[in-house]
Symmetry: C2
Subunit: 431 residues, 2 copies
């Protein structure tokens, strides 16, 4: 089996067999296939696509390229949740303690932020003392004792995907639906959960820009998940505007705590209830949507979800007092408010651009090697359709550098549009 | 200008600017753009194509990536000839002395064989003593003294094309018409001729399998050549069957000498007359086709073309006595004839497969590093439509290894098809 012939086959519109795909992935992982052949294949896949069978084979081949985590020492049905990446998407931080408080074990491997999107691990690490680079044994022990654990992906989880994604990222072959689907699902399958709830973001701040592509991606991932016996469901949610109000690591912790205390962004809570209900149903903890949502609301209202979050922070060595006193989180040197000089409605919040401004303030990574400034970011005064009263902040910027603050304060006005007239709220959950 | 953005632009169907293409080629040549980005771009070009402007820019960028040969010290209009590669195509060896004998200077850089196609330099080197790795000064001196020189491409001729071709060869991106056109024309332009006569081969033994693609390639190369002020013409000729009767280096020298002596393959001679007439017209030596062909025939009939070939061999250190005594050429240890056991017509000669059998006998290179056995190959008894009388050879195989001989003798019968009924001769020159 020569790589040349396999590139040619795909280039000419053929379908690769399961054996061929396994051979490509195993040879590429160990360095026997050079990057220049793999990138040519990725570009051919971009143009020719892959059949559902090819995509499933690629997913499994990548899943098996490294460690396959065995979560069987954790009692109960383990349900993972994955979002395709967005701005101000603090879902995991709210959802995980809510679901765990309802009695479903949460064992989640998470990534770090890249580009304009944030990562759960970075956000949690903004809490002083948190340690999330765990061994699988520590991870399982954490779930068994606390009902919840979130860990950074192990180095040897889907090494093939890591290598291929790095290559796609520099060869303009990221936005291929079968390649995206197999990348996500290979990690989820290797991470060992029994069921998977997917949140496919669509809109200007997401990788998927239109509903058709998002649906195609969602359907493909559902079929891959179910074909390997993992109950998989998906929702398509709006990422034209940021999901919550906070963009930046410590700021998102503040927002998550706010939601767990019954305040904060309503959109964020709504997405958490929808995804959380699916997790409880798949975990067998709730029978239907109505019951699941009632359980989640009770976990919130009773304070049990907040308590679970506190427990989790403590179990990971973090300072759990942040839950009661957010001033213990890293603080930015400079804070600047953009104040409404009259009553105005928010007409548009451009998610991608706002995410990039936060990244350039230091909240995210342009390249993988970049380090992160936990304290900086943007806090929005409201979402599209909200009224901002005269004298209230339209947005607040947190920075540690005066020049960057000046730049961000000017820049942000291009991407938050205002209106004197009321503005309709966009749909949050498409499907 | 980031390579990532340029791959993306091409992938999305955009046209690269002249500046962008020059930058890509100069960065790639010096190693600042990695192979994995270049192969992704090549695959995107395979799918999206290139405009004639992009192709012309790529051609010139590659031509200027290394030495630009200056042939102005040679008096007269220098006309180069290029064939896109075929089997038993000994045209250059016959054509060059014919044209030079008519008074047009012939200064030709040639390549070596690869895969199933032969290379002029390899064929000439089968003559004992020949030295064709020349400096440009020696080359010019050779033309000025003898009217003809043929040299191996200098190491620094179009290094960008050399590097890119090597990459395309292993990433299934060779057969893209704009990439083929720019590869050929960049070398012709850098080699410094004033005019270019192209022989685009079409058929099963050529890179172009159908007439439409061959025409597209020919038109594109003509437009590139003329756009840089080099008078360029093209012919499309048949490569369904081998052109001449000899496949293999020394065997093709024997055939070329035969044609120069007034014998040998008629098809080979016809192609030489057609291409040679164009060369004489572009060189300003003949006014029209009729006069040009008469001059060429006279050069042949008078023995001046043969004499010129002898002179050229001597000027390059070769043993010119081979012209009168071909037994001085390298000889194979084993010779096996496939004899007709009754009168038969040749129905089909599969050029590609016969070229590959000769290659595996040792006449060609599978990889660039392979060495060549000059003596081996196949001599055909006739072309499609020819009658082979009972007792005459249908084909003769020359080998230096008994096992390979046995294999070739069996194999050849699959690709030379015979018929008891007369067979029509195929068209030789399409356009």
């Amino acid at each position: 089996m020569r790589m040349y012939d396999l590139i040619l086959k795909k280039r000419n519109g053929g379908a690769l067999t399961e054996d061929e795909i396994y051979s490509i992935i195993s040879e590429y992982t160990k360095g026997a296939i050079p990057d220049y052949q793999m990138s040519a294949l990725a570009m051919a896949i971009y143009f020719r696509g892959m059949t559902p069978e090819e995509t499933a084979s690629l997913t499994l081949a990548m899943a098996h390229s490294g460690d396959m985590v065995d979560l069987s020492p954790i009692k109960g049905i383990k349900v993972d949740k994955h979002s395709t990446g967005g701005v101000a998407d603090t879902t995991t931080l709210v959802l995980a303690p809510m679901v765990a408080a309802c009695g479903a074990p949460v064992a989640k491997m998470s990534g770090r932020g890249l580009g304009h999107t944030g990562g759960t691990i970075d956000k949690l690490e903004s809490i002083p003392g948190m340690r999330l680079e765990l061994s699988v044994e520590e991870f399982i022990d954490n779930v068994n004792k606390c009902g919840i654990s979130i860990m950074a992906q192990t180095k040897n989880l889907t090494p093939a995907d890591r290598k291929l994604y790095g290559l796609r990222d520099v060869t303009a072959t990221v936005d291929s639906i079968p390649l995206i689907a197999s990348s996500i699902m290979s990690k989820k399958i290797a991470a060992g959960a029994d069921g998977i709830v997917l949140d496919v973001k669509v809109g200007r701040g997401a990788f998927m820009k239109d509903i058709e592509n998002a649906e195609e991606l969602a359907d493909l991932m559902i079929s891959i998940g179910n074909s390997v016996g993992k109950k998989t469901v998906a929702h398509i949610t709006n990422m034209d505007q940021p999901l919550g109000l906070a963009i930046g690591n410590a700021l998102e912790i503040v927002e998550a705590i706010g939601v767990l205390k019954g305040g904060g962004s309503k959109d964020l809570l709504e997405v958490c209830l929808v995804l959380g209900a699916d997790m409880l149903k798949i975990a067998g903890v709730a029978k239907d949507d109505g019951k699941a949502k009632a359980m989640l609301k009770d976990a919130l209202d009773s304070g049990r979800a907040l308590q679970k979050f506190k427990e989790f922070i403590k179990s990971r060595g973090g300072d759990e007092r942040v839950v009661d006193d957010v001033s213990l989180l890293p603080k930015a040197k400079y804070i600047e408010r953009w104040i409404a000089d009259k009553d105005v409605f928010i007409k548009d919040l451009m998610a991608m651009e706002l995410g990039l401004i936060a990244m350039k303030l230091g909240a995210g990574r342009e390249k993988k090697e970049d380090s992160i400034d936990y304290s900086v970011g943007i806090m929005l005064g409201g979402k599209v359709g909200d009224l901002i009263k005269k004298g209230a902040p339209i947005a607040t910027i947190y920075a540690n550098d005066k020049n960057r603050m000046g730049w961000a304060a000017r820049e942000i006005k291009k991407y938050i549009l205002l209106s004197d007239e009321p503005v309709e709220r966009p749909i949050l959950i498409h499907k």
